[in-house]
Amino acid sequence: MAFLIGPMQKRIRGHKEATETNEILKIHCDEVAISLAIGSHTALPCVNVGDKVKIGDLIGKRDDRFYVPVFSSVSGEVVAIEKRMSAGLRPADHVIIKNDHADRKKEFSSISLESSKEEIINYMKEIGLIGQGGAGFPSYLKYSTDKCETLIINAIECEPYITADVRNIEENMEYFKDGVKLLLKASNAKKCLIGMKFIHANLITKLNELFKDEENIEVVACKDVYPMGWERTLVYTLLHKRYDKLPIEAGAIVSNATTAITLAKTSEKKCYQYERIVTVSGDNIAKPHNVICRIGTEIKDLIKACGGPKNDPAVIVMGGPMMGTCVTKDTVTITPISNAVNVFEPKEYQEYPCLRCGRCVEHCPSSLEPVTITEAYRFNDVDRLSTLHVNDCVECGMCTYICPSKIEVTEMIRRAKKVMALRKK
C-alpha cells in the first residue's frame, strides 16, 4: 500500500525529554473560569451570579440532543458569567468562580467491575465523561453500541512535546488498570489493545507486568511516527482495517488513556475529577514541566509556574504543536480536554514556490491531495474543491510540516473547509 500511496506518516522529533522525567508541579488558583464550550457546541449556564457551589456541582449543560454536564472544579462563589475566548478560538460563556479553598465536594455515586454495561454507560453520562484525547466526544455515545469487537486504548501521544498522558499513566497505574477494565466491560468487546509508542520501553514493561493476569488485554508497541495516535491510523496499524466515518464500522472503539483513568478515579473517589495534568512545554518556555491544575485555570498561571517565555514575542499553542490552536490571549482557560500548553518562538520561514513534488500527497494520513486543494483554494475554484474530499481533512498539520517550500498548506485547507462550509449553508 505504501508503495503506491506513500507512507502516510512521518517520524517527527518528539522533544519529550523536556518533561518526561522531571517533577509534576501543582498549581493553586484563587479563581477559575470554566469554559462552557464543549467541542463545537456551547452549554448553557445553570447557575447565577452569587450562587455558592461545591466541587462537582452542575454549572452548565448542553441543551441539544446530547446531554453533557459541566461541573464546578472549586468550591466557592460564582462571581460572574462572561463571554471570553475559549481554547477552541470561539467566544463562549465562562462561569467564573472564586475559590474559597475549602474544597467541599459533592459526592458522586460509584460503579464497580460487577456493574453491567448499561450501568457503566449511564455513569459515564452522569459524570459527563468526554474523550480526553482532544476531540471531546461524549463517551456514553461512543459506547452505546453492541458491535464492538476490539477496544483500543490510545496511549500513543504522537504530538511532539506532550507527555501528559504517559505521565498520567505512570502516576496512576492502578486507576489505569481499573479504567481499562471498566471500559472493556462497557464496550462488551472480546479484547483490548493498548497502543503505546515503543520509545516508552520502561512503561511498556510495567504495563505488561500490570496486565499479566488479563488474557484479553494486550499492550502493543507502535512505531514512533506522526500521526500514530490518530484514530484512523491507530485502527489501521492495530487491526489493518479502514473505515468510512466512525471506528465502530471496523468493530473498534478507541478511547484515550486519560479517559480510562478519569473514569476509574471518579468512581473510586466518588468525586468529580476537578484537576487534570497538562504539559507546559515548547521551545520558548524557560522551565518545561507537567503541571496539575484545576479545570478553569488561566494558562498564564501555568506559563508563569514554568518560568514564562524565554524570548519575546512568543506564540502560545493550546494542545499539541501540530494540531493545536494558536491563542493570542493568555486568559484562555484549561478545559477537561486540554492536554498541553506549548510556547514557541514565532519562526519565519522563507517560502518558495510550490514544486508540486507530491510529498504532501504521499504523507497525508487521509490520503488527500493537499497541493491540489491549495491550488483550488487559491483560484477560488469551489467546484474543484467539492471533488477533493476537503472535509476528510483532520488538520493534522502533516502537509505544512513536510512541505519543502514551507507553504502554509494546512492553513489553506482550513480556509478551504470554511469556504465549503459557507457554501453548504
Binding site: I12, R13, P321, Y352, G358, E408
Partner: protein
Amino acid sequence: MEYKFKATPMPRRNLTTGKVMTRLLLGLLVVYAYGLYNSYNIGGKQYLVNTLLLLLVAVVTSIVCEVIYALMMKKNIGEHCSTSFPAITALILVLTVPANTSLYAIAVATVIAIVFGKLVFGGFGQNIFNPAAVGRAVIISSFATRTAFDAVTGATIATQFAKMNWIADANSYLRFVEANGGYFNILMGNYAGAIGETCTLIILAVGVWMTIWDVIDWRIPATYLGLLFGSATIAGLVKGLGIDYALMFVSTGGAAFGAVFMLTDPVTNPQTRPGKIVFAALAALFTIAIRFLGNMPEGVVFSILLANMISPAIDKLFSSKQITSHKRNIAITLGTVACVLLCGALIACSVEPGKYAVDANAGASETVEEETDAEAGASGTDEEAGASEDAGVTGTFADTDLSKYPAAVKSVDGDTYIVTAGGFHALEGGPDNEFEIVITDGKVVSVKCTVFSDTQGVGTIATADDALAEFEGVSLTDEIDAVSGATYTSNSVNAAVQAALKEANK
C-alpha cells in the same frame, strides 16, 4: 509580553526546497566533473576549455534572463533569483550538449529554456515543460548541424547505434561493441557524446545518492529505465543478441541522464505515486518509439517533453482519495506498465536489424554525417548510412578516391616505406600522420603508426595495433572496409597504405 498568532503546525521539517536544489546541484556537478575529464580525453585542452566556457555562458545567460524578468515584473531581484534556481536549468542544459557545442548555440538555447521554458508560464513551479529539455530540443531542431565549432572526429555511440536502427544483427552488434571498447568502457562513458550523458555508472550512483537524500523519487528512473531494459531484453532474446543488448540499449544515449535528472523534475511530473509511474512508463514508450521508428538519432529529450505534456492529464486521472481508489490505481498502473513493456518489445522486434558500418569508402555522402554533431542528426541520416554501406562493397582498393587525404611516400628503405598522410587535422592545415609500412610482393606485411596527430581517443581506434593488423595481406586489388569510429583517421591510414602500395607497384 506579546503573544503573536501563527498558524499551526509549529514544527517544520528541516528539508527546504533550497536544500533539495542544492543537493541536486551537487549531484549534477559530480556528473559535470566527469564530463570535464571525458571532454579532455576526447578533445584535449580545447574541449576542456569549451566545456568550462559552456557552463559559464549558460549560467550567466540564465541569471541575466531572470534578472530582466524580475525587473520587468517589479520583483525583488535577489529574492526572485534565490527562489527560481536558474543555475540548475543551465547546468542540466550544458550536460545534455556535446563538448564541442558553440557558445552562441548554448546562449540561445539557455534563453529559450529560461524564458520560453519557464518564465512565460509564470516562473519556477508553474512551467509545464522541463526547461532544460525545451532548450535542448531547440538545439536539436533549430541548429542541427551548426552547433559544433568543429566537426566531430567520428560519430558518437548513440549515432552509430541509431544508424543500425538501434538493433543490429548479432555479428554487427558484436563488432560495434568491440569497436567501442567493450561493455565496461561504454558503461564508464569513455567516448564522445553529450557532456553529462556518457557515464551511466556515475549517473546511476548519483541517482541512488539523491534518492537517499530525498531529492528525487526513485520510482521514475526505475520505471523508465526498467521498461527500456525490459523491452530491449525481449527484443534482444528474440533477435538472438542476448541480454547484454538491453544493457547497451539503456546505457547509450541520454536515457540514464534523462531518467535521473530530467524526468524526475517534480514541477513537470505528476504529484501522486501511481501518476509518477504511469508518467515514466509513457516516457519510456515514447523513447522506444522515437528510437526505433523515428528518424532522429536520439529520442530521450522529445519523449520527456511529450510525457511532460501528458502530466496534467495523469494528475487528473489519479486525483481522488488515494485509499478509496487504491485498487483502481494499482490496476491502471500495472496495466500501463505491462502495455508499455509489450508495445516496446513489439516495436523493437518489428524493426529490421541494421548492419554495423561506418564506411571509409563512402566518399561524398560521408561528409554530411561527419559534420553532424553527436545527437543532432538531420533527417535522412539513415538512408545515407545505407548508401555508404553499398558504396563500400564495390570497387577495389586501388580505385578508391582518397585524394582528400594527401599521402606521400617520404622515403623507401628496402621493403619499408615511410608515408605521411593527411588526417583530420591536416584538413585544417595541421600536421600529418606518419606511417611505417612494410610491403613485399605487392602485399602489405605490417603497418605501424609513427606520428599521430589526430584527436586522441577517437582517432586512436583506427590506429590501434588491432586495426592496423587488418591491413596485413592487403593488395591494391582487394576490397577493403575501413576501421570504424574515426573516419578521417581511418581514411588517412587507407590513403597511406594505398600510396605505399602504388609506390611498391611502380
